[in-house]
């Protein structure tokens, strides 16, 4: 299934892009992050990040569906 991945902050710098589409054959955000971490050498562990699916904060174990967007969010540092 096709998943749109959005990257912010450190993750965007490491990935060298702000979004991409990936074809995956599993539904786990943790597995997806594991694969992305390997590909782009992200420094954060999955548990340090919040997950937004279709622009809504979501539980880490939420199952992804075809056409979803997902963003892995580092700790916020606004202000």
């Amino acid at each position: 299934m096709q998943i749109q991945i959005l990257y912010f902050a450190q993750l965007a710098d490491h990935a060298g892009k702000t979004e991409e589409s990936r074809d995956i054959d599993y539904s786990s955000p943790a597995q997806l992050y594991h694969d992305l971490k390997e590909a782009y050498h992200f420094s954060h562990e999955f548990t340090q990040l919040q997950v937004a699916i279709n622009h809504q904060l979501s539980a880490h174990e939420t199952a992804l569906k075809d056409g979803d967007s997902i963003a892995f969010l580092p700790p916020m540092t606004g202000g």
């Binding site: 959005l6 912010f8 902050a9 450190q10 965007a12 710098d13 937004a52 622009h55 809504q56 904060l57 963003a71 969010l73 580092p74 700790p75 916020m76 540092t77 606004g78 202000g79």
Partner: protein
């Protein structure tokens, strides 16, 4: 109650006027400024990056929480994104209420939660040209009654 994510300069006097109300007895605001140093490093500028599709919902939740916890009339948050230099205003919070106590408490509650929950990230660029993403906001003072906490 309103929230804006903007790449333009923040004008507190304009924002204050938008909160003016004859039924309010007081107004409290907070401005977060870009300072010229952090943890021993000389800061030249900050890059703020946001998530515009998510931040309005988070801001609305924070404002609703403040309204539920404190006796306030109105509140607003404006956060700037993009490239900011020292002295710029990065974030503004304004609160009105019938009485002063709730304006202070609600303003503190909102800015503390903005710093930890609003999906915005900052990268510091130092005067020597190096740069670094800030990994966390160190002050964890989310308890608005904890007014003795020193930064």
């Amino acid at each position: 109650m309103t929230f804006q994510l903007t790449d333009s300069e923040i004008s507190p006097s304009t924002l204050r006027r938008e909160l003016l109300s004859l039924s309010a007895g007081g107004y409290c605001s907070y401005e977060g400024w870009v300072r010229d140093h952090n943890e021993g490093n000389a800061v030249a500028e900050l890059h703020y990056s946001g998530y515009p599709q998510l931040s309005p919902a988070i801001a609305e939740t924070i404002l609703e929480e403040a309204k539920a916890k404190f006796h306030i009339e109105d509140a607003a948050i404006v956060h700037r994104i993009g490239l900011l230099t020292t002295g710029d205003i990065a974030v503004w919070v304004g609160v009105t209420a019938h009485h002063r106590g709730d304006t202070f408490l609600a303003c503190r509650y909102i800015i503390d939660n903005v710093k930890h929950r609003l999906p915005i990230w900052k990268k510091e660029v130092y005067t020597d040209g190096s740069e670094a993403w800030i990994e966390s906001n160190h002050c964890g003072c989310t308890d608005p009654t904890n007014l003795e906490h020193h930064h």
